[in-house]
């Protein structure tokens, strides 16, 4: 029986991109359905009645929700190629920690910076930059967060790269000046077809 895979997402969503990249890494054929978040489809509301958010992966009619959970699911089901999670339990725990860190910190801080002005804005801007510096420190000298291979944290973070220009514009700073190693990492990721075609 051939797998039927559908991804409900929106073009600008960093979380949706994580799912697309994971599917591309595994070479999974799927149907992409663009959602209009101001007019959510009956399918989305039926598949994610609890949060009503994208992305939702629908595999043979069954929904999987939350981007980090989707990526792990894709890795477990299509386990014959391109492993995303490390095999070592401690490394796996570290990867989950950093994706959780990205989830807890990046988006919320960005929003706070975007929606504030004056001193408050400056505070959130400093916080956002320190978050990226932390992520740069975590990368260290490795080519990818996964070491030599593109892994869970790489998938978790790279979609935010296309938002860097927006962060920079609203925050009036240059990411390359603040976090050059992170930019170098992002450029390495962008050499991957699975990332650029997403």
């Amino acid at each position: 029986m051939t797998d039927e895979v559908v991804l409900l997402s929106t073009w600008g969503s960093m979380f949706g991109m994580r799912a697309s990249i994971a599917l591309a890494e595994k070479g999974v054929k799927y149907e992409y359905k663009e959602e209009n978040l101001e007019n959510k489809s009956p399918l989305l509301l039926q598949m994610n009645p609890i949060h009503k958010t994208i992305p939702v992966l629908i595999h043979n009619g069954k929904p999987i929700r939350e981007s980090a959970i989707i990526v792990q699911y894709v890795d477990e089901v299509w386990n014959d190629k391109a492993p995303i999670m490390p095999s070592d339990p401690y490394q796996r725990a570290q990867d989950r920690f950093w994706v959780d860190y990205i989830d807890k910190k990046v988006y919320d801080t960005w929003r706070k910076m975007w929606l504030s002005t004056g001193e408050e804005h400056e505070t959130w801007k400093k916080e956002l930059i320190s978050i990226f510096k932390q992520l740069e420190e975590t990368l260290g000298d490795k080519p990818f967060y996964g070491g030599d291979t593109f892994g869970f944290v790489d998938v978790g973070l790279i979609p935010f790269y296309c938002w860097f220009y927006t962060f920079e514009t609203y925050g009036n700073f240059k990411m390359e000046a603040k976090c050059p190693k992170l930019i170098a990492w992002a450029q390495r990721c962008m050499e991957r077809e699975t990332v650029t075609t997403t």
């Binding site: 609890i50 595999h59 069954k62 999987i64 929700r65 939350e66 959970i69 989707i70 792990q72 699911y73 477990e76 089901v77 339990p89 401690y90 796996r92 725990a93 989950r96 920690f97 959780d100 860190y101 932390q134």
Partner: protein
């Protein structure tokens, strides 16, 4: 080589309780270290420099932070005893989803109930009860969220029961009358030694919340 397992924790923390239960389920011997959150130990600050929070599991000197991540780590390492996550990827994804739902909803709403008043508190209570009812629906007629076996979602959720007396007293409502199936599930969980020995007395938690409220000036 014998495993060295240490848990940095704070007795009323539902997040710490999750790890205590998991270690008990797996029969793992460990050293419990109580942290004073107003005077965090050098070990805690060194083990969790990013968030500086408990719980932290330290296995052979290496720290694992965030309770659900630590539970999954224990499951991965001690995989031959008492599996806590389903083997099927789809059911595993569902278990992770519901544990994440507990993290997104139960703690924050519960906290709002005992720290706020008036309309804000009423809104929090309403949402809290809705969340428990949704979880009740998810439980259905199963013995545990894990089905016949106590599992990941049960572990993620049952510790919050110890805070119910505090929520009910300060929120002026009764959870059992709103969500009887939920309480029935809690009671089944409490029959397990791994749970009953890992959870503090709700009365003690309530007294702790009374103290905190005084300290942060809520009247």
């Amino acid at each position: 080589m014998a495993d060295e397992v240490v848990l940095l924790d704070f007795w009323p923390s539902p997040f710490g309780m999750r790890i205590r239960i998991t270690l008990a389920e797996k029969g793992i011997k460990y050293e419990y270290k109580e942290e004073d959150l107003r005077n965090k130990s050098p070990l805690l600050l060194q083990s969790n420099p990013v968030h500086k929070k408990i719980p932290v599991l330290i296995h052979n000197g290496k720290p694992i932070c965030e309770s659900l991540i630590a539970v999954q780590y224990i499951e991965d390492v001690w995989s031959n005893r008492n599996p806590l996550l389903p083997s099927d990827p789809y059911h595993r994804a569902q278990a992770r989803f519901w544990a994440d739902y507990v993290d997104k909803k139960v703690y924050d709403l519960g906290r709002k109930i005992w720290t706020s008043k008036g309309e804000e508190q009423e809104a929090a209570k309403k949402e809290f009860v809705e969340a428990l009812k949704l979880l009740e629906e998810q439980l259905g007629d199963k013995t545990y969220f894990g089905g016949d076996n106590f599992g990941f979602v049960d572990i993620a959720l049952v510790p919050f029961y110890t805070w119910f007396k505090a929520y009910e007293t300060f929120g002026n409502f009764n959870i059992e009358s709103e969500c009887p199936k939920f309480i029935a599930w809690v009671k089944r969980c409490l029959q397990k030694e791994s749970v009953s020995k890992s959870l503090p007395d709700p009365h003690k938690v309530y007294e702790f919340v009374v103290e905190i409220r005084k300290r942060i000036g809520i009247e």
